[in-house]
């Protein structure tokens, strides 16, 4: 089978299109590149949707945490503590078994015992908690002068939030938020190792890398391939978030614009 044939057979294997059986022996480099690459579809799917949905929830949580009303502040605090204080690995496990138990209660939960919905929910809640903490920190460090200026212009309530508070909060939080986005994409590799079954061997990049490592007993090929894909993905994220950062900081003089500093990733 030529490499082009392999790409046609396995390029979309992770979403169930193409050859049904995975290669079983005499693995070629091309097969490993194609299958692991096809698994990246899931990593990107989980990452993108959790990040977008999590963003809005995180802003709400951050405002709740900063609110003077205990009825808003307490729940936000607890939510952030629970999701930041426990391992994501255990959260996904717990959610999976919880969804499986709930299946007998109502058929609404059928979809949630599959990875595409169930794991997405957990990743969404998890990233919302982490981002909320970042946004909350940024909210507290908005310069006092900015808010006083807004008052002087007669802005209050929604107008002040939309035009002053929110953009400044984003601008200050953005470098950390970029890191959070990178962590989130890395965290998506946990999904198929914690409860959620890879239905018909439709798994993510790490699932396939692990498959090859188990079959060939040689970790030195599949894992570096996986690492290469993730470094590429990380660079893309940094690129996109860098553009957003430029836009958020475009009103500042050139020398005061903060460049994105990427710190090494950590497990959660």
């Amino acid at each position: 089978m030529s490499c082009w044939d392999t790409i046609q057979a396995y390029g979309l294997r992770a979403v169930g299109i193409g050859e049904r059986l995975l290669p079983r022996s005499d693995f070629t480099l091309c097969e490993q590149f194609t299958l692991i690459g096809s698994g990246m579809i899931w990593n990107i799917y989980f990452g993108v949707f959790a990040l977008i949905a999590g963003f809005f929830f995180a802003v709400a949580l951050a405002l709740g945490k900063a609110s003077a009303n205990p009825w808003l502040r307490k729940p936000a605090n607890w939510f952030i503590f629970i999701f930041r204080g426990s391992p994501l690995f255990i959260q996904i496990f717990f959610a999976y078994f919880a969804f499986v138990s709930l299946k007998s209660v109502s058929s609404i939960f059928d979809a949630f015992s599959a990875a595409w919905a169930g794991a997405l929910v957990v990743l969404f809640l998890n990233t919302a908690a982490y981002s909320a903490q970042i946004f909350y920190g940024a909210l507290l460090s908005i310069p006092k002068g900015d808010m006083e200026a807004a008052d002087a212009y007669g802005m209050a309530g929604w107008a002040r939030f939309r035009r002053i508070t929110f953009p400044t909060m984003m601008r200050l939080a953005w470098p950390s938020y970029t890191n959070e986005a990178i962590f989130l994409f890395h965290a998506t590799t946990l999904v198929f190792f914690s409860g959620f079954p890879a239905f018909r061997q439709k798994g993510d990049a790490l699932y396939y890398a692990n498959y090859f490592a188990d079959k060939t007993f040689n970790p030195f090929i599949p894992y570096p391939i996986l690492a290469g894909y993730f470094i590429l993905l990380t660079l893309v994220i940094i690129g996109i978030f860098g553009l957003a950062n430029r836009r958020l900081n475009r009103h500042l003089p050139q020398d005061r614009r903060k460049r994105l500093r990427i710190r090494p990733n950590l497990i959660r």
């Binding site: 255990i90 490592a213 090494p264 990733n265």
Partner: protein
């Protein structure tokens, strides 16, 4: 465990639960918490030592050593850690066997990688095929610790490298003015002062390390996640004296609570430590303490 547990069929309610939670397998489950704590207790200092060596290497004046240190620090960027864990556990095992193979069987002429197999001579196997079970388990645990130490050592190296660079330059110049050589200045001036700069990063790392312990399960150690899955699964009366439906959700809820408690306690302790270490330091935190006292 208790005397009334001899006939589980007659029990109900609280006494059933008390017997159920003290079966031999549950005792193994509780011991697994000890395994996690042991892993943390051994890994934390080892990773710190790896990190210290890494940071020193990255600051070295010898170029190849410096490159090695910088690559070690940089390699953890951009790649999911779980991939590192899965990789190192096999790679280290094969590296050990390969080394022993080279030493013990020098006149072996077959290739080591035959198709999909990794073949070394019998006496180079790690651990030996006829070794008792506990040796296999200890070896697995040892590999897990080494893997954790390598990965977290890289994080710690990054933090310590930053902390070493944050120690005010004037301090090092003063040390030189006192006639200390590089080594003396490093050990007597930089190392004692860098901890306060490193502590926020290191306490963050500790939190992350706690939350990484469930990954032991992926490295093949019988840890709390393994037992939670094992014990929680539904049991029929045929295979167990204590039949119950699928309780894995509740077992994982217990693990969740355990981790929440553990991180909370760590947070409190680390806050105290930070207050202690900032006392008298020429930093914002130290200044704030002085003002509060006055």
């Amino acid at each position: 465990m208790f005397s009334y547990c001899t006939d589980p069929d007659t029990l109900s309610g609280f006494s059933w639960l008390s017997c159920y939670l003290t079966t031999g397998k549950h005792m193994a489950f509780y011991r697994a918490f000890g395994t996690v704590l042991l892993l943390l207790a051994i890994t934390a200092p080892t990773a710190l030592a790896f990190g210290f060596c890494g940071a020193r290497a990255a600051r070295s004046q010898v170029a190849p050593l410096r490159w090695f240190g910088k690559i070690y620090i940089a390699i953890v960027r951009g790649v999911p850690d779980i991939a590192f864990f899965l990789f190192f556990v096999i790679a280290l095992d094969q590296a050990f066997e390969w080394l022993r193979h080279q030493v013990k069987c020098p006149d072996w002429d077959e290739p080591i990688r035959q198709g999909n197999d990794f073949v070394v001579c019998q006496i180079a196997k790690m651990p030996l095929g006829n070794a008792p079970q506990w040796v296999h388990e200890t070896y697995g645990f040892f590999l897990a610790i080494l893997t954790f130490a390598i990965v977290f050592g890289a994080f710690a190296a990054n933090i310590l490298y930053g902390a070493m660079n944050t120690v005010p330059h004037a301090q090092m110049e003063t040390a030189e003015a006192y006639g200390m050589n590089r080594k003396q200045a490093f050990w007597r001036v930089m190392v004692p002062q860098m901890w306060v700069y490193a502590l926020p990063g290191l306490s963050n790392l500790w939190m992350v390390l706690i939350k990484a312990t469930p990954l032991l399960f992926l490295l093949g150690v019988e840890d709390i996640v393994y037992w939670a899955r094992e014990l929680g699964g539904s049991k029929t009366a045929r295979f167990s004296d204590y039949p119950h439906p699928d309780w894995r959700m509740w077992y994982f809820l217990a693990l969740l609570v355990f981790y929440l408690g553990f991180t909370k306690v760590s947070e409190v302790v680390l806050d105290r430590l930070m207050t202690r270490l900032t006392r008298g330091q020429a930093t914002m935190g130290g200044e704030a303490q002085r003002k509060a006292a006055a």
